[in-house]
Amino acid sequence: MRIKTAVRYQINDYIKPVLIYYFSIFCLTLLFGMIPLIFGGNGRFSLTGIEFITSIFMFVLGLYSFKEVFLMMLQNGISRKTMFLSRLLTMASISIIMSIMDRFIIIIGQMLSKVSDKIEITGFYDMRFKFRNINRILFNLEAIFITIFIYLALILFGYFISSLYYRMNKAVKIVVSISVPAFVFILLPVLDYTIFEGKLIKLINDVLKFIFASENPYNMLISCILFIVVCVVLSWIVIRKAVEKK
């Protein structure tokens, strides 16, 4: 039963950032959107891809408050197991909520776009998968469904990184912060050029194409699910032995 309380606590913890996020979007919309419209002229208000902004937000949200929540849970006699599970549930809930909220904004935006040709609001997903051959309702439902997993993957990724960084001491942090980018941007291309005759980069390219460049959104879904599983497993390995740092 304490897992319910743990979930409630963490959702409570997320409410403020989420509200600030949507409030900011709203304000920025007013600022950049309404002003040209009000003052006439050739201004067009264009917002094509709130999901993109939300995606970044989800990643940042994952990075946020690992230590605070971890310590609070320990103080209140919650095991790391329960803390981790409740965190997963919380992140899933937030992903669902944000996905629905975004879709809601997009749908309203699309309706507004029909009304005025000075407004152009649509979703990133809608533009990307324009040619899906299904009716509108199913399309939106599918969009919500797939976006949930995208957001969950991102927030989990942020969570994994913040938990990893929590456990690393200063020296390891420096090593990781340097060596990971170095590996990706320097060592990998070099290796590929010298040993693999370009096959490695080609493989990576193909994988990226599969995930991002397909007409089938379910490629994205499968990739996200795999990524989620990996993040969950790695995060648990990192967290199960975590203790308060001196």
Binding site: R2, M72, L74, N76, S79, K81
Partner: protein, 282 residues
């Protein structure tokens, strides 16, 4: 119903912080957990409350292993100087959440205590002074109503008045609704009349685990002229000596002698702090 610590070992790198520590905290008693800085008190308490992991051995709370176990852990509340509460959270919100995690938490009692201590619960954690930082945690510890309450240096930073208040509220609470309190502290004199059972830890090992009366009855001081004292304690278990000029005081472990002291010698009881110092000196 008790907390059983069984052969717990904890190493930090090459240092052994706890060496096969075995001790039991029974229900409805006030324990004094005494030890010098770095002796292992906080490490022991942290292992009991699942904040760190032991390298060997186990801890059972009412028969259930405490490690990573919510059922066991909900019976314990620990108050420590480290801040595990979010820095920006208001005290009244912390009270509210504590009630969620520990349903027996008495919110009204906590609010009354806050008033008595003049703690403004609208403040957040980071804006509190060291003293009030301890105070709000102590208030929670007194209000939480778990069977086991661990207090690690509860009066750190408290002024004399607040310390007095704390002891009074603790005794009142304990008298009306007994539970188990383990007080880990350096301020031995202040708690020596408060505790029923004393556990002394020295360099990761338990060296004393006895009821206070037994411990106190098993030690005495012999004072007087140095040569007389030496003669008297020749065959006794002396744990420490103090001398000024020609006068000496010897601290002896053993049954307080029933017969009167020889001329020129005074035999008095030993106080807990002295006993502690002599037992834990290097």
């Amino acid at each position: 119903m008790s907390i059983e610590v069984k052969k717990v070992i904890k190493n930090f790198g090459s240092t052994c912080a706890l060496d096969k520590v075995t001790v039991t905290f029974e229900e409805n008693k006030i324990y004094g957990l005494l030890g010098r800085n770095g002796a292992g008190k906080t490490t022991l308490l942290n292992i009991i409350t699942n904040r760190i992991f032991s390298d060997a051995g186990e801890v059972l709370i009412d028969g259930i292993p405490a490690r990573e176990n919510d059922e066991a852990l909900k019976k314990i509340y620990m108050m420590s100087e480290k801040d595990y509460y979010p820095a920006n959270m208001k005290i009244k919100d912390i009270f509210r959440w504590t009630q969620e995690f520990y349903p027996d938490f008495d919110l009204e009692y906590a609010e009354n205590l806050a008033e008595a201590f003049e703690l403004n619960i609208k403040k957040n954690v980071k804006s509190l002074s060291t003293g009030y930082s301890s105070i709000f945690k102590v208030i929670i510890a007194l209000s939480v109503n778990t069977p086991y309450v661990l207090l690690d240096e509860p009066v750190l930073g408290l002024d004399a008045n607040h310390r007095d208040m704390f002891y009074r509220y603790l005794i009142e609470k304990y008298s009306e609704t007994p539970s188990t309190y383990v007080i880990s502290t350096h301020l031995i004199e202040e708690i020596s009349n408060l505790v029923e059972h004393i556990i002394i830890i020295r360099k990761g090992k338990i060296i004393k685990d006895e009821a206070r009366e037994e411990l106190m009855s098993y030690g005495y001081t012999v004072s007087g002229k140095a040569s007389l004292v030496d003669e008297y304690v020749r065959d006794k278990n002396v744990i420490g000596l103090d001398s000024i000029g020609g006068l000496k005081s010897a601290y002896v472990m053993g049954q307080i002698p029933r017969d009167k002291a020889p001329e020129g010698l005074e035999i008095t009881k030993i106080d807990l702090q002295k006993l502690f110092i002599k037992l834990t000196d290097n």
